[in-house]
């Protein structure tokens, strides 16, 4: 009979209308500014720079190797390498980025910079409420705005940050052992670097 199809459809809409009051899966929207659904840990938005220790500028892990600048597909990173070395938070002299800009209006959140960084220095942030008053000065983020402490990284991605810390710790340990072995050549038994991360120790410790 003509019209039954339409009536059936009306039945479906009625079921959804009433159901949205009782069933959670029929109403999945949240009232955004007041209510927020939690962000998954893998969520990514724009990159930021990690520093260790107290001083944001001395503790930057970035050594201005410019790999991320080269690999960035939309070319939104701009780095000027320093001429001199400054001590980092561990007291080791390091090159540092004199300028590190990310134009977040160009960045497309692909996280290739994170993948190619050998120093675990750049990570993806989760802050997404980024509306700014001015396009030219506010969306071009400078080094000072980009630097965030390691604790912040632990706060947004606990699992991943713990993995990174373990990796860096193992690398530093291996490097220290290597150094100790090199300093004491009388112990040939220990000449092999121990631990599976031994081979990656070079960039993290230099």
């Amino acid at each position: 009979m003509i019209g039954t199809g339409i009536l059936k459809g009306m039945g479906v809409t009625a079921r959804n209308f009433v159901g949205s009051y009782f069933e959670k899966e029929r109403l999945i929207t949240v009232q955004y500014p007041e209510e927020r659904s939690p962000l998954p840990e893998n969520y990514r938005n724009f990159p930021f720079l990690i520093y260790d220790g107290e001083d944001p500028q001395a503790g930057l892990r970035c050594v201005a190797c410019k790999i991320c600048e080269k690999e960035c597909p939309p070319q939104c990173i701009y780095i000027v390498k320093s001429d001199d070395k400054k001590p980092d938070y561990m007291g080791k002299p390091q090159f540092y980025p004199k300028v590190f800009d990310i134009d977040i209006s160009v960045c497309m959140s692909c996280q290739i910079c994170v993948e190619v960084c050998p120093f675990e220095a750049i990570k993806m942030d989760k802050e997404f409420e980024l509306s700014k008053r001015e396009r030219f000065n506010h969306l071009l983020q400078r080094k000072e705005e980009l630097s965030k402490p390691n604790e912040y990284y632990h706060g947004i991605c606990p699992t991943e940050a713990a993995d990174v810390d373990a990796k860096l710790g193992a690398a530093a340990e291996a490097a220290a052992k290597k150094k100790a072995v090199a300093a004491a050549p009388a112990a040939p038994v220990l000449a092999k670097p121990t631990g599976p991360t031994g081979s990656t120790s070079a960039p993290a410790s230099s």
Partner: protein, 388 residues
């Protein structure tokens, strides 16, 4: 027919009749680029005789950004996030097609778990693409909002899965040459199973909503008929081709990924009209659910990326390769020529929705303007891919 058009000055001027104004005269109308039913910035120059379409010329290029040249200027890996932006509904499928082509070009093997993850994600993409397409199509027919919102509700659940795995809802950038970027943990797989198990319930409800609906039938049956011969000659692929009854699915023909391991059927249409194209999507979603169930049951722990595939300084050997997959909209192919350098010498995308538009004029001739929107909706285009 001689409807009288009343004007404010009807008292002073003799009445103008529709027949005297339009009979025998052709009217050229530019539909789009800003039109809610063109699914983006797509324009058609339509020549109308009354309300009947006599000529239709699609106009492209409003979203053209020379994607292929961008691909030739960035590294192989650097093009991966750009492929997300081709067909922004199906970034996972685009990633897979590109990764598959580069793997062919460089001869990289993919570990088993990564292949399973790729199948799972590509089929989830198909589910959400087809679901939203059905919603949009009904929206084009005048069922504003309601079916679209039901479809988007399901799509949102799948996008949440993508977000928790790849970090982004639509711009996933998930696949890498020789595998995938992030491993899916057990929680994620359990969540995926839950969504897949509940999906048929949505399909039942949605089919109840539209299947027997007299308005849908009146608007779609015998509208925009496509013959199998024309479809093959015009290179139509995907559900649009199978709606004409041609059994051609790259998943079966090429057997890429692990598709030969799964049992699934290829739904085929009979008439090639808009109704068949619409039903093809609904039926394909059911088969996708079957594939997903099997894949989620078979997936084993293991490596997700081939350690031989380098991320930095990736240079495939000199040669060329054409790789293709069955994306939700049709055959998505990438043609790459390597000259041994870090960038591809030639990077070409074979966009399914662009080539499926070849027959748009043939489908629309002799139909009314209102049918043009329905036919265009059933082709399933995304302008990010059409204009590249």
């Amino acid at each position: 027919m001689s409807a009288t058009v009343q004007t404010l000055e009807a008292m002073e001027r003799p009445p103008v009749t529709m027949s005297s104004r339009l009979e025998g005269e052709l009217l050229e109308v530019s539909m789009g680029p800003q039109h809610p039913s063109t699914h983006g910035v797509f324009r058609m120059n339509v020549t109308l005789d009354g309300e009947i379409v006599r000529k239709l010329k699609p106009v492209f290029g409003y979203l053209h950004r020379n994607h292929e040249q961008i691909g030739e200027q960035t590294t192989y890996l650097g093009s991966m996030p750009y492929t997300d932006r081709l067909d922004y509904f199906c970034s996972m499928s685009n990633n897979w097609a590109y990764a598959l082509s580069v793997e062919k070009l460089a001869g990289i093997e993919v570990p088993e778990r990564a292949e399973y993850l790729r199948v799972i994600l590509a089929e989830l993409t198909r589910l959400q693409n087809h679901a939203s397409l059905l919603g949009f199509l009904l929206s084009d027919m005048g069922a504003w909002g309601t079916p679209l919102m039901y479809a988007f509700r399901e799509r949102e659940k799948i996008l949440d899965l993508f977000e928790s795995l790849a970090g982004s809802r639509m711009m996933c950038d998930y696949m890498r040459f020789g595998g995938c970027r992030v491993d899916a943990d057990d929680n994620w797989l359990a969540g995926a199973r839950k969504i897949v198990d509940r999906f048929p319930k949505f399909l039942d409800e949605f089919e109840e909503l539209i299947l027997g609906n007299e308005i849908v039938i009146a608007r779609t049956q015998n509208v925009g008929k496509l013959s199998a011969d024309l479809a093959i000659s015009a290179g139509i692929t995907g559900p649009m081709l199978r709606a004409c009854g041609v059994n051609y699915d790259v998943r079966k023909v090429d057997g890429y990924g692990f598709y030969p391991r799964f049992k699934f059927r290829i739904p085929l249409g009979e008439h090639g009209d808009t109704y068949d194209r619409l039903m093809m999507r609904a039926l394909e979603m059911r088969e996708s659910v079957e594939i997903l169930k099997q894949a989620l049951a078979q997936i084993q722990p293991g490596a997700i990326v081939n350690p031989k595939a380098k991320i930095r300084a990736f240079r495939p050997p000199v040669g060329e390769a054409y790789g293709r997959i069955e994306a939700p909209k049709g055959e998505l192919g990438f043609y790459l020529i390597s000259d041994g350098g870090p960038n591809p010498y030639r990077y070409r995308v074979r966009p399914p929705s662009f080539i499926n538009l070849t027959v748009l004029e043939d489908l629309c001739l002799g139909h009314t303007v209102a049918d043009v929107m329905v036919i265009l909706g059933s082709v399933d285009i995304v302008m990010g891919e059409v204009d590249r």
